[in-house]
Symmetry: C2
Subunit: 373 residues, 2 copies
């Protein structure tokens, strides 16, 4: 799925490029150390009078001055919107704060938005770009492992609603994704682990050899070895590009990227957004979904301890909060994959292969009971 990159000659040797080719759009994901500092990463972006950097209170002090200086070489005006940090702020109020700024500064429909931060900033900035004046261009500058391997790729943008995660959003593609591995140096260990949950996910759903590679390299990843991180980010983006290229709007195949997310979203919503990091909930959710895969006879029994052990080694929780079985089921019924009230799960039916299917409530209840605190 890696396509030829027309800008390849502009990119420093250490940077790698994964091309995303969709039905009507194409864009590049640049991966490597030193990209924020490298002029070549910022060439050939959409021309406009104004760029707007959207970031949060944690990330802005670390990287915003550097990005602003970079963008001032290409845009006459660079505005900034700094939001509070955390999933609890992925709301309409934060989104409206972006709109207020864009309108107060008379930003026109050519204005380019830059999302500088993790998945929350990326999702919100992307959604703001999708609907401000019915669509302006945007660029993802993901600074967390989770955003680099997952949320900045594929065009899913959204905000949360009190009744469900990511319920309001759009499919809207960035002009480019610039994943500077140096930004991971300052990432708290808990956030790094949360990102590893999405890295691990790509193994069981699509690539058994990659699962083995992660097991062999989990310590290097936890120690932020740049070569290991570069390989992991690139491989995840390649797999995601392959999946999204076949099913841009999640009519079918793309749903496999939600392995662990049905249980995970229930944990996040049930605990209150922000109590668990998204990656933590997905990690624990993958343990539960692995168990469900085994209970439904799709995988041999040893798959569950193998997944649980890897998720635990990554520093992620493997015991679910006790929300009560009924509350779990209620929360999962409003999942976007549900149809006519029937919950549908992404399950593993062979290493490197996933399917989506419904499961009897009684079996799901057993899974919930088996893994609760």
């Amino acid at each position: 799925m890696t396509v030829a990159n027309p800008h390849a000659s502009l990119i420093n040797p250490p940077a790698q490029c994964v091309g995303i080719q969709l039905a009507h759009e194409a864009y590049d994901i640049l991966i490597g150390p030193g990209l924020l500092a490298s002029e070549s990463s910022w060439q050939d972006l959409p021309r406009a009078a104004t760029a707007v950097i959207v970031s949060n209170e944690t990330v802005a002090p670390l990287f915003l001055p550097q990005l602003e200086a970079r963008l001032l070489r290409h845009y006459a005006r660079v505005e900034k919107v700094i939001l509070p940090d955390g999933e609890a702020f992925k709301t309409w109020d934060s989104l409206n704060h972006i709109f207020d700024c864009l309108l107060a500064k008379a930003c026109d429909r050519k204005t380019v938005l830059f999302a500088l931060g993790g998945g929350v900033i990326g999702d919100m900035t992307g959604f703001a770009a999708a609907v401000y004046m019915r669509g302006v261009p945007f660029v993802q500058v993901p600074t967390t492992l989770l955003a680099q391997v997952d949320s900045s790729v594929g065009g899913k943008t959204a905000i949360n609603h009190p009744l469900g995660k990511n319920m309001i959003g759009a499919f809207y593609q960035p002009q480019r994704v610039i994943a500077d591995l140096d930004s991971l140096d300052s990432l708290p260990q808990r956030e790094l682990s949360a990102g590893l949950a999405e890295v691990i996910k790509y193994g069981p759903i699509a690539d058994a050899a990659f699962l083995q590679w992660i097991e062999d390299n989990i310590e290097a990843l936890l120690a932020r070895d740049k070569a290991a991180l570069a390989y992991a980010v690139k491989r995840c983006c390649e797999i995601k590009a392959w999946v999204v290229g076949q099913d841009e709007r999640e009519q079918g195949l793309r749903a496999i990227l939600n392995f662990g997310h049905t249980f995970g979203h229930a944990i996040e919503t049930g605990m209150g957004y922000g109590a668990w990091l998204h990656g933590e909930a997905v990690g624990c959710g993958m343990v539960m979904a692995s168990d469900l895969s085994v209970r439904l006879g799709l995988m041999p029994a040893e798959f569950l301890p193998r997944m649980r052990r890897l998720i635990e080694r990554a520093g992620l929780p493997v015991v679910a909060p006790d929300l009560g079985v009924e509350r779990y089921l209620d929360l999962m019924r409003v999942d976007k994959k549900a149809e006519a009230g029937e919950i549908r799960f992404v399950l593993i039916d062979g290493l490197g292969s996933a399917v989506m299917r419904a499961a009897p409530d009684a079996v799901v209840a057993e899974v919930i009971r088996s893994h609760r605190a």
Copy 2:
């Protein structure tokens, strides 16, 4: 631009069909009396367990029971969301009321939304459909003349922001538009006139003969003659289909549909949403834009009194509120067509032909002074 309609045999003889053919989507606009009552109008819509009718407190008592009965033949469950009536409610709060209902009723991503009402209901329902779970199908059932000739066609959806009209939205196409001319029987005269503003618009921008036809038939239209209305709605939809088919996302040509809207939006925002009906503001805005076209030498002097007379005969205001010249200019600088702070106007440069261009502030100021109360 009228394309062959695959469902032609299903439609009652009096109904007409205008096909909209876009790059990646196509849909039909059905126009005629008795469409709400005719089973054939409702065939072959997207299958789903649930339909949701979004309407307002004025329109719902008139047509909702009939539409609900019709939809219950095709959907197991029909939910209703009734919003307050008026442009002042085209807000995030109203939109969120729709989302609350959809989530509380566990509506999945196959749910079909039906917009039953005028332009405000159509814009909001369309935007809700565009972003609920990143997109669900919707059908426009416009019950005002303005919505039938303009706002239900072309896929523009939006809500207002306190700092600008239609600033937050999406391009999102309906599955079908069902324009029942019988619904215009109960329309207040002021709303009928507001709709005529958008009808008149299509003459100067695209069809000199249609402008003449409107001048010859304005009394019949005001008297709600069904044959005259059918012709006017069909001709407007044909012109809009032709324009939108060439420029779905308003990169260029499509902007001509905004003739009168730059001044008009300033009036609407400046007076407070709802004080002037959208069509009233557009009517007065067309007088001002006609004057600007004359002052810039694009049209002969007699064009202005001709347009003013027709707009006046349609029952529309031709004198602008005195917001002050600077306030007008400020409001117009945040117009979506503005670029880098330069206001761009749709101007007539020959009967049936429009261009978009900037104008010197001094000339715009003269226009504002000439038409104020």
